[in-house]
């Protein structure tokens, strides 16, 4: 009799578990449309986007057009995206994180917040632009450049015979006190990139001195990197430090900006990652495949102005990556690991 009771109990609990698991995980397998694209009609993905709003939406709209997959997205600067994924570790709300500075996605991979996925389309992408374990894959790169409002420069500094800043350290010149706009490293990956770069290039004492003097010269810290370029474009600020793709976007809109890419420059790579245990893993993997297609990278580069990671993808507005002398020794994983310590140093100045 005991055995019968026990058997009934185990059977009920097993059936209940299977039922719950079934509800949670069962999704129809992906079929193909006549053009070979995955048929994702009726499927949905949730994406955290750290790209410029319209670039993120273009990726998602083009994906929807091609596969029928609907989407929701939330724009988050890099640092806040990472904080959110960490916060949601036990109950992930999103499937994908795309864009932002790469140290954050690398760190997310190290912390086990993102899942491994090696897209078949990643084979062509150079090793330095992807994680060998598939926790993240680069989609585009761009260098960190100094941006100057030409009209203001010509009026305020050129008559004194002053030369345009050529390296990041030139921004520490006391003449630029209150003239620089820079994104807040606590919220924006753009701001954090320079902190990590300086930390890896200079000695600890020199790093602290650089941070202190950069803070002194900074007029305003913006929420994200793009806003700082908007402020230089309008003339509200004279100088800024931001990624070249954002600067190109405003230059194409007719704003007279001078962009200076220093030698051995800091740089970043927009990457895409699959969030571990996200609610829609299958369409999310299809989205990663889509981001790494040649056609997608070429289409997006025409509006994002960054350099595609696929060597065979042509970029209309951005010069080839070889044009810039990137600081190739930059250790993104170290930048991710040291984030809390560097921000503490910066915030305590």
């Amino acid at each position: 009799m005991k055995k019968l009771y026990l058997f009934t109990l185990v059977l009920c609990l097993t059936l209940l578990s299977v039922f719950c698991w079934h509800i949670r995980t069962v999704q129809p397998s992906v079929t193909r449309l006549p053009d070979g694209s995955p048929d994702l009609h009726g499927r949905h993905i949730v994406v955290y986007v750290s790209l410029r709003d319209e670039v993120g939406r273009a990726y998602l709209e083009l994906f929807k057009e091609k596969t029928g997959c609907t989407y929701e997205y939330l724009y988050l600067p890099t640092q806040t995206a990472l904080a959110r994924i960490r916060n949601e570790r036990n109950h992930p709300q999103a499937d994908i994180v795309i864009g932002g500075t790469s140290h954050a996605q690398i760190q997310a991979g190290i912390e086990g917040l993102t899942a491994q996925y090696i897209s078949p389309n990643a084979a062509i992408i150079p090793e330095r632009f992807k994680d060998p374990d598939g926790c993240w894959t680069g989609i585009a790169t761009t260098p960190l450049a100094i941006v100057v409002n030409r009209a203001r420069w010509q009026r305020e500094f050129a008559p004194q015979g002053k030369k345009l800043p050529q390296v990041y350290a030139d921004l520490l010149d006391p003449d630029y006190h209150g003239q620089i706009v820079f994104s807040d490293p606590n919220t924006a990956g753009t701001g954090y990139t320079i902190l990590a770069y300086i930390d890896q290039k200079l000695s600890p004492n020199e790093t602290l001195d650089f941070y202190r003097r950069l803070r002194q010269n900074t007029a305003e810290f913006t929420f994200n990197g793009y806003t700082s370029v908007e402020k230089v474009a309008s003339g509200e600020c004279l100088l800024g430090l931001s990624f070249l793709d954002d600067q190109t976007s405003l230059r194409i809109s007719g704003f007279d900006l001078i962009s200076i890419v220093p030698p051995e420059c800091a740089w970043t790579m927009d990457a895409v990652s699959l969030i571990k245990n996200g609610p829609n893993p299958e369409p999310a993997r299809c989205f990663i495949d889509f981001c790494l297609e040649k056609e997608t990278q070429e289409q997006i580069s025409r509006m994002a102005y960054s350099v595609p990671t696929r060597p065979d993808a042509a970029s209309a507005e951005a010069p080839p990556v070889e044009t810039f002398e990137l600081y190739t020794a930059f250790d993104f994983a170290r930048a991710g690991r040291e984030q809390s310590a560097l921000l503490e140093k910066w915030n305590n100045l």
Binding site: Y5, L9, D53, T227, G235, E236, I252, F255
Partner: protein, 282 residues
């Protein structure tokens, strides 16, 4: 005497009760609708319901002016965003620092006639409290962006054009001097903007954005007079990129998301012929 061991029977009863409870929850979720619920305190419930139904949102920006949102979908979206920001947040008291970052002032009017005022910038300030939690910053930014988007629609820009202190058109490469639009040209431009079709979310918007296609001219609108023409606050500037294809893209430089709103209307044809020649020969 052998004592009967009831442990397994008790475990089995607990197990069955657990299964029954889960089944009941699933069943009640499935059958939540199509059932009659009697509300006992009708007046209280109606008062609560009226209080929480937002009917109108008035937005005021120093640079972009005033706008009233009355369509239900937009109000619900904004209302939901505000709820997401305030839920599980620990608000702070208002300080001078928070006052410095205010960019939008908004009033929500409810069905029962009551009103709430909230201020928005780097923080959300509502009912005497400031919400600035680090994790809520993107939501605050997104709410601000959604509200701003209402303020620089084509109809709003058309309304701003006649009184804007500076409206200039630029052609060719960046740095070319602009030409101020005369009153008659502004009037024509306003009419054209009112007749433009919004491409937001449409396929054509993304085709336009991802085509290798540079704008042929730019119209720049300064919303408030400034002392130095080279030092315009970003929040004081609207830029319109004109494309040869008959589309145009509006960007407000005070919107931190870098958003462009795309429309179809050939604005170039509303400008004097000499200007069109300028565009295509530079």
């Amino acid at each position: 005497m052998k004592i009967h061991d009831f442990r397994f029977e008790i475990l089995a009863i607990y197990g069955l009760l657990l299964c029954g409870s889960v089944g009941a929850i699933v069943y009640s979720n499935v059958h939540l609708y199509d059932s009659v619920v009697i509300i006992e305190k009708k007046d209280d419930t109606l008062r609560q319901a009226n209080l929480s139904i937002p009917m109108r949102i008035d937005i005021q920006s120093e640079n972009l002016g005033h706008y009233t949102i009355s369509d239900e979908a937009s109000i619900q979206k904004i209302w939901q965003n505000m709820h997401d920001i305030t839920a599980d947040s620990a608000p702070d008291a208002i300080s001078n620092t928070t006052q410095d970052h205010i960019r939008l002032s908004c009033t929500i009017s409810y069905l029962n006639g009551s009103q709430d005022t909230f201020l928005l910038g780097r923080y959300l300030q509502l009912n005497g409290q400031v919400y600035s939690d680090f994790y809520k910053q993107p939501l605050i930014n997104s709410l601000e962006s959604d509200l701003l988007q209402q303020l620089y629609s084509c109809s709003r820009i058309a309304a701003l054009l006649p009184t804007a202190p500076v409206v200039q058109i630029y052609t060719g490469t960046a740095g070319n001097p602009g030409r101020a639009l005369a009153a008659a040209e502004r009037k024509e431009l306003s009419k054209a903007l009112l007749a433009a079709t919004d491409l937001q979310g449409q396929k054509k918007q993304f085709q336009l954005a991802t085509q290798q296609n540079r704008p042929v001219a730019h119209i720049r609108i300064e919303l408030q007079a400034v002392s130095s023409p080279d030092e315009i606050p970003a929040a004081n500037l609207i830029n319109i990129d004109l494309y040869e294809s008959g589309c145009f893209a509006v960007q407000y430089l005070g919107d931190s998301n870098g958003r462009h709103l795309y429309f179809t209307k050939d604005l170039l044809q509303y400008l004097p012929p000499r200007f069109s020649q300028e565009v295509f020969h530079t």
